[in-house]
């Protein structure tokens, strides 16, 4: 039966994450963007949210909650509303842990999941994007070849969050005609982590290019036992996350522009009383809701056990474009002031642009 009501549990989780985003992320967002570093206090405080631990099975020290992509979409939207760079940083360990939770073999789960049960922030990451203008999940340049009972990985990945700090990185590579994921320890010979990347936005998030040159990995480094179909689901989960994140960034920009337009006067009246501005805001409001509903719907398909490949693709494509449009409009509503770094809208425009370019920024 069709319903748009979150459960009570979802609502509570949403509110606590929203409170965290408002109290802990917003106040430091500008400084994080300018300085490029995440205050340690944020990573400490985030433990209370249990962004990862909540879903870890009890045997690994977690709360054993059922994972839901819809719930995940709600959470990442709220975090992204606070600040996208901070959100991506805090969510990065999930890019490594959730695939293992979902697809990992018993020994992979035993070996890795326990790390994330503690109260401290444990950096981990995934490497998916490649530095090519026509980068495509379906045809990765990074290749994995099975040889003498081992895997040999070669390729270049970019925009790998927290690659320097992460003990392990989940590297996606083409294996034959399939896409597979591999658990790559940072100390693996042949793995080179380059200097921190300089990006247009998400400047608080440390990302790196990594190069794999004949990296030898044991057979059991491959995620799961038969991961072919599972990786499609992971892709969908990342796309749903991106769509929901887009809704969060866009909502932040919409709300700021709305409030500004009611304050700012021109020709003797608030600019929000002019249709040219009011209509822009109305369209922005529609797009924010549209992005969220697409993310929820694709997430709902995932929660039913489907791979949601088309739904999540459509949600991500739509949301990435709409987030750019909404944040751009927010800058436009503020006019010259929108261009000045005193207001956050230019930051949100730069951050939103990243969503179309990046495929592995978070996972639900």
């Amino acid at each position: 039966m069709i319903s748009f009501d979150p459960t009570e549990e979802q609502q509570m989780m949403r509110e606590s994450v929203a409170g965290f985003a408002r109290d802990e992320l917003r106040p430091v967002a500008r400084a994080v963007d300018e300085g490029g570093t995440i205050p340690a206090s944020v990573a400490e405080k985030v433990a209370q949210l249990g962004l990862l631990r909540t879903w870890l099975p009890e045997q690994y020290g977690g709360d054993g909650a059922d994972r839901s992509a819809v719930t995940g979409a709600m959470i990442v939207e709220e975090l992204a509303w606070g600040d996208l760079a901070l959100a991506a940083h805090l969510l990065s360990p999930r890019l490594f842990a959730f695939p293992i939770l979902e697809l990992g073999t018993a020994s992979q789960r035993d070996r890795f999941l326990g790390h994330f049960a503690g109260s401290g922030f444990i950096a981990a990451s995934a490497a998916l994007t490649e530095p090519r203008f026509d980068f495509d999940l379906a045809s990765l340049s990074t290749r994995a070849v099975a040889k003498h009972g081992e895997w040999l990985l070669d390729g270049v990945k970019c925009f790998v969050p927290l690659a320097r700090e992460a003990e392990f990185i989940l590297v996606y590579a083409g294996a034959g005609s399939e896409v597979a994921a591999f658990i790559v320890p940072r100390e693996t010979p042949g793995l080179e982590i380059s200097e921190r990347e300089k990006n247009m936005g998400l400047k608080g998030l440390a990302t790196h290019e990594i190069t794999l040159t004949a990296c030898r990995l044991p057979a059991e480094a491959r995620l799961g036992s038969d991961a072919a179909s599972g990786v499609v689901r992971l892709t969908s989960e990342m796309r749903v996350a991106t769509a929901a994140i887009a809704a969060g960034v866009a909502r932040a920009a919409f709300e700021y522009a709305r409030d500004y337009a009611k304050e700012r006067k021109a020709f003797g009246a608030p600019i929000a009383t002019k249709q040219a501005i009011a209509f822009m805001l109305a369209e922005m409001a529609i797009e924010v809701d549209a992005m969220r509903l697409l993310a929820w719907e694709a997430g709902w398909h995932l929660d039913r056990g489907e791979d949601a490949a088309i739904e999540s693709y459509l949600a991500k494509q739509y949301a990435a474009a709409a987030a750019l449009k909404v944040t751009d409009n927010a800058v436009q509503v503020l006019g010259g002031h929108g261009y000045i770094r005193e207001h956050p809208v230019e930051l949100w425009l730069r951050n939103a642009r990243g969503l179309a370019a990046l495929d592995a920024i978070a996972i639900v």
Partner: protein
């Protein structure tokens, strides 16, 4: 709990509507587009008989306490999408209480609902209609010049209404009625606007002309003249007193129910176009490769994906607006969001469908050009794109119509 699926029994019923659309509407779709002002009587009578057998109610009614069908508005928009996939003009021509019924259901007393709507479950085909627009005012419905003056135990209505969907059918056939918006006190502005049920056969009500249109040609759009047209006092919907505080919220409440329906109409037409293009591309060995980076997609694939995304967004927004109404929640904002998004999206989707078929899209041998013409009305009636943006803007900004106009 968030859910995007209808119950199995609804899904089953929707299949019946899908069959009607495919087997009864599509075969006569072109014919009644070309033969404007003629009615497909056989189809209309079959549908009338079928809807009476099924006992399904009128669109727009609010949740009744203890009443069985709690997802009525959702059900209505789902069936609307199926039928307008078949043909939007034929859908609008169907015998039912239509927008007039929605107005009675939204603002009428239980007794009025019984009196005016019960006849729609029996006898010969009947039509209901709603008359708001006038030659001198459309979107600005507060400027309505038609008057209703109390004279003893009657209201006397004078004025001219245009663009009244199914107006001629409602006025010409026994059991039908037209809900007319008129002012009882011009000095009270919008608070003076009330709606009145004028039944078929009321003397002083005349169909002055039927319009020739761009699309939805199977449906009549009438000019109705009211010349000292008298109806009993209890034909007013809502309270007769002028409440300057409340304005014309009673009559406007109708739109909360009808805008999601119009959005669903748009979506049905849009889906028809999308389905046609998908089949057409497949027949011509063009496949849409979902999942690829946009860099690798052809222009046609990108266009198709964009059409599909926009249609989906429109549907989700529309479901939400109808779901809220079913849940008894205030949905003016969400209804306007759905209408604004769906109206524009489907206008663009159908225009793109014509473009994607090249010269064949322009030809009347396919229905795509018709869908482009049919789609456009959804961005106009029950509030234009711009009026809906205005309503959304007022809601999100917390402005009154005086502060933002």
């Amino acid at each position: 709990m968030i859910d995007f699926e209808f119950e199995p029994q609804v899904v089953e019923r929707l299949q019946i509507y899908r069959n009607v659309a495919e087997q009864m509407m599509r075969p006569i779709s072109r014919e009644y587009d070309e033969r404007e002002h003629e009615k497909p009587w056989q189809f209309l009578e079959t549908m009338w008989a079928a809807s009476n057998l099924s006992g399904e109610g009128q669109p727009g009614s609010r949740k009744q306490s203890g009443g069985g069908n709690e997802a009525r508005n959702l059900y209505t928009i789902a069936t609307t999408e199926e039928l307008t996939w078949g043909d939007a003009g034929l859908f609008l021509a169907l015998p039912n209480a239509g927008l007039g019924g929605a107005a009675v259901a939204a603002a009428g007393t239980p007794e009025q609902k019984q009196r005016f709507l019960a006849p729609f479950r029996e006898g010969k085909p009947k039509w209901g209609a709603m008359a708001i627009t006038e030659p001198g005012c459309g979107s600005d419905s507060a400027a309505i010049a038609t008057t209703a003056a109390r004279d003893g135990d009657q209201w006397v209505i004078n004025g001219t209404k245009i663009f009244c969907t199914s107006g001629a059918m409602a006025a010409d056939h026994p059991g039908g009625f037209i809900v007319v918006w008129a002012t009882v006190d011009k000095s009270a502005g919008r608070a003076g606007i009330k709606s009145f049920v004028v039944p078929h056969g009321t003397s002083g009500m005349t169909v002055a002309r039927v319009e020739n249109k761009l699309g939805i040609r199977a449906s009549d759009t009438a000019m109705i003249v009211f010349d000292n047209c008298r109806v009993p006092l209890d034909h007013i919907l809502g309270k007769p007193e002028v409440n300057r505080e409340r304005g014309f919220k009673d009559v406007m409440a109708t739109f909360d129910a009808t805008r999601p329906i119009v959005a669903a109409m748009a979506i049905g037409v849009g889906r028809a176009a999308l389905d046609f293009v998908r089949d057409f591309l497949r027949d011509h060995k063009v496949s849409v490769r979902y999942g690829l980076s946009p860099h690798r997609l052809t222009a046609v694939e990108r266009d198709f994906i964009e059409m599909e995304m926009n249609l989906k967004v429109a549907r989700l927004l529309t479901w939400r607006a109808a779901w809220m109404l079913d849940a008894g929640r205030h949905n003016s904002l969400e209804a306007s969001m759905a209408k604004a998004k769906a109206g524009l999206a489907v206008t663009q989707i159908t225009q793109k469908a014509v473009e994607m078929l090249g010269p064949l899209g322009y030809s009347r041998q396919f229905l795509v050009e018709k869908w482009m013409r049919d789609a456009k009305i959804n961005d106009i009636f029950e509030g234009t794109q711009q009026i809906n943006l205005l309503i959304i803007a007022r809601r999100i900004l917390g402005y009154s119509s005086r502060e933002l106009n």
